[in-house]
């Protein structure tokens, strides 16, 4: 028993590790999503987590800032991405890259993998050079690709689509591995293609690299870390170096596993591990006075530079010699010498002198009161944090969910009556009072497609749907769950696809229940677009598919339904 207890004590996670685990649990508090294989659709996704956490993860309760930023940039034609710029700026100002060190689940995963006992690749000048790659990824994949493709009318969040291993692991695998998403109308396995192969390979490379290198994703790839690095200098929380105490020994840089040049630069993730190795105690947390940590002057037999005495007690004369310093110390508020008077003063000549402690600083009762207060603050903080986590877990896992219908082939297609889009009497393309009733089209083959303007595959497949609508005797309806705010229909149909407006596709607006699209749910939609359902002449479902549908498959299924 004692051995077990000793083992636990020796291997107890550090405070930083506990905070990392805590934030991972808090970000992914929707545990029932892992069981049901669905993602959370509540209003907490208005807000972003400070660090990367894919919002397609079944457990995610908030949005990912990087994904949201890219999506906002893809919509730059109509809406400037002020919200995401503001959110990221606020997080950067408050925390800087402390987010990477303390609040990122991806960083946590890499650090745990790094613990595996293998030979390690230490940082060197090559890794330092490679660390600039993340800025290139930021500019190209996060900014340029979404903007350029939005000109062309396509929605391509470059980093999420081509690189992000967090999305593949948390979102892709998180949904794929659930049996509910492996069959029926929610079968995601059919959607796997070259993109999945590429991203899975990227994920494997990152996992293997994490075993050999410390945080390779954070150092070389993560664009969010690149952005927060710009704020490290002005962030309110993080590590700081006291230049007056620093002896330039370089131990902090040597000990640090990130590619830093100095403490607190843009590569520093503010993990705080350099604080304990600094012999001069020159590295502290910003705002450390709030938490009243013991300073080294109070430590018996501590070595203190002349500069500290100057700062703390009196203004030293310019020459700063030992004699004048001790003489000056004797003039101002000095307590009588007692058993605490064993502080030594190190001066440039290499000699040492006893300096009596300053009145009030080493007073034992005053120090004791400060530590008691610090203790209770910590206890209070831990209790509050635990309460928040518990509340989140209970709240998110007891929220009611919309009923998911599993549309099978041969089942009766749900009826709906939805408003159409078209040109009104003023010549503007807008929602009309006219409706499309499914019951009126009994006896016809109807292709029901659920899409969204910001969904790349949806936008890519619609022109092919338009061609099929022209060539075959079939009614194609494209239902949009319009929950964007302030978007004009004439704008959200991309400029190079205006021919859709004059095609035979009937564009409809889904009925919304809060943020839930009712017809989409009724047709088996579980939060991902596009979905295509073909309804035969008898009103029964003949084909259903989640994901992009190519023209040849659509044509063959339509012909089957027409000939049935």
């Amino acid at each position: 028993m004692k051995k077990v207890f000793n083992w636990i004590v020796n291997h107890f996670p550090t405070r930083r590790r506990i905070i990392q685990l805590y934030t991972f649990l808090l970000y992914n508090a929707n545990l029932k999503g892992y069981i049901n294989g669905t993602i959370f659709t509540g209003n907490s996704k208005y807000f972003c987590t400070p660090s990367m956490n894919c919002y397609s993860c079944p457990g995610a309760v908030a949005a990912c800032p990087l994904g949201a930023l890219q999506n906002a940039l893809t919509a730059s034609k109509t809406t400037t991405a002020y919200y995401m710029f503001g959110i990221i700026a606020l997080f950067g100002l408050i925390l800087g890259r402390t987010i990477c060190g303390f609040f990122c689940p991806v960083g946590l995963g890499q650090e745990l993998l790094y613990k595996i006992k293998t030979p390690k690749i230490r940082k060197n000048k090559y890794t330092r050079t490679l660390s600039y790659l993340k800025y290139v990824i930021l500019v190209v994949f996060v900014i340029a690709i979404p903007l350029m493709f939005s000109i062309a009318g396509a929605t391509v969040p470059g980093f999420c689509k081509f690189i992000c291993p967090a999305g593949t692991f948390e979102g892709g695998l998180g949904l794929l591995l659930n049996p509910a998403n492996q069959s029926g109308s929610r079968n995601l396995l059919d959607m796997l293609g070259p993109i999945f192969t590429w991203k899975f390979a990227v994920l494997c490379v990152v996992i293997v690299a994490s075993v050999l290198l410390y945080r390779p994703f954070c150092r070389f790839i993560c664009p969010l870390g690149a952005i927060y690095g710009f704020f490290n200098g002005i962030a309110l929380i993080g590590v700081k170096l006291d230049e007056n105490k620093c002896t330039d020994c370089g131990l902090c840089i040597q000990h640090c596993k990130m590619d830093v040049k100095h403490v607190g630069d843009h590569e520093c993730i503010n993990c705080g591990e350099c604080i304990s190795v600094c012999p001069a105690k020159a590295i502290t947390w910003k705002g450390s006075k709030i938490f009243l940590r013991k300073n080294d002057i109070e430590e018996p037999a501590g070595e203190v530079k002349l500069g500290d005495i100057r700062k703390m007690t009196y203004t030293a004369p310019a020459n700063g010699t030992l004699a004048t310093a001790t003489a000056a110390a004797g003039e101002n508020n000095v307590a009588p010498a007692n058993e605490h008077s064993n502080i030594k003063l190190m001066v440039s000549e290499g000699g040492y002198a006893d300096i009596p402690p300053v009145k009030g600083e080493n007073d034992r009762s005053a120090r004791g009161k400060k530590h008691d207060r610090n203790f209770w603050i910590r206890v209070g903080a831990w209790i509050a944090a635990f309460a928040v986590l518990l509340t989140a877990l209970i709240y998110f896992n007891t929220l009611p969910e919309p009923e998911i219908s599993d549309i099978m082939i041969g089942s009766q297609a749900p009826a709906f009556s939805l408003k159409k889009y078209g040109y009104n009497e003023r010549g503007r393309y807008d929602l009309l009072d006219e409706t499309f009733d499914m019951e009126d089209h009994l006896g016809e083959v109807v292709v029901v497609n659920f899409w969204a303007t910001w969904c790349g595959p949806c936008v890519e497949e619609l022109p092919e749907f338009a061609e099929v609508a022209d060539e075959y005797d079939v009614t194609i309806v494209a239902i949009h769950g319009r929950i964007e705010v302030n978007s004009e229909p004439e704008i959200w149909v991309p400029a190079n696809h205006r021919e859709w407006l004059s095609s035979k596709i009937v564009f409809l607006q889904d009925e919304m229940d809060g943020s839930t699209a009712k017809t989409f749910i009724a047709y088996g939609g579980v939060n991902s677009y596009p979905i295509t359902v073909i309804v035969g002449k008898d009103g029964k479902v003949t084909f259903t598919m989640q994901g992009k549908l190519d023209k040849s498959t659509l044509e063959s299924e339509v012909q089957k339904a027409l000939n049935a």
Binding site: I39, Y55, A62, T80, C160, W198, C455, P457, E484
Partner: protein
Amino acid sequence: MSSHFLKIKVIFCHGAAFYRKIISFAYICSHEDFVIFDRIILTFEYIYVTIYIIIVYQEVALNKSEKIRFGYGIFLAVFTVIVGVVFIAQVAELYYSGIKDGLSVIYTTERISSRLILPLIFLGVWIAAIIAGFVLSVVFPIKEKRAVVRDDGKTLALLRSKMPERGDNAEYDAACKKIKQIEKARICVWCIVSAILLIYGVYIMIFVFNPANFHSDRLREDVLVLVRHLIALVIVGFAVAIVAVIFEGVAARCETEFVKKAIVSGDRSSVPTKQGPEKHASIVVKIICAEIAFFAVELFMLAPFFITWILGSGDVTSGYIAIVAIFFVILIVSGYLLYKTAKKYVPESSAKVIKLYARIAVGGLAIVFIVAGALNGGAGAVLTKAINICTECIGLG
């Protein structure tokens, strides 16, 4: 600072600022769906440009500050007349065209919007000039008129004879502390009042200049709604301003008492004089702070603005792309010059001040952006994309 280098920089930055202004103006005139928030943002941009130009000119023409003040006064007076004339002319034109075409079409939103755009631009610049004048008087207070030549030694002896031999240091320190507290309170009150009035002003502007709030066929109801919406804000705003003025008077009287005590107690502090950092940043640092603010506005407000413009245009020509590309190149070069200047001329003691300003600026900008994003649908878009996943984005494709 080398005045030659500074002048070159001023010419470059001034020219670059004019180029950027031309683009902004072209955007205003060409973009039909110019929503109200874009107008507000551009108004703030005018304010920054004006402040920047005035501060930089102050540095270049250090000895000519009085002439600049005089010129500014003339400019403001003339411009106020111009703004008034333009506004009245547009209103008159609106009125007479309504009479001609019939009252039923006098208040169409299209007609009012087209008439008000021109005066709005002038109004924006006029507001910018007013605020610039305020900043001018605060940052560069009016120097005293040339003092009458007098015998300073005789005056000092006279004053010393009225002061006690040994003063009460503790009382002096206490009085100074009180004076500082009162000054801080006054500044806080005015900052709070300014913030409240600014928020109210922005809200009122958003409401009043939103054409959707005015309908052609329900003028009476719309005016009543306008009054109901805004009267409370106006009353509270006035009340807050009046309270601040009263507080200012009371605080000034209290402070005077403590100033008298400080003088009487001998004007000698018990705290030894410290060789501390400069209390006020030099004029160079002030310029750099102004440039940083200007650069931040250009980068974080205009840059996404122009991206939206170029992407929202139906036909993106190579000409548009070239114009915006030149804009960004100028922005980057300006930023580089700014960085080099700051690194070379800002002493370490002022670096902390600049860091504080940077934090305040970034924090304020972040909050403004979040509010702006929430208003223009950005927050809703985040929710949309987060609950309806793009399958290719998680590798399922």
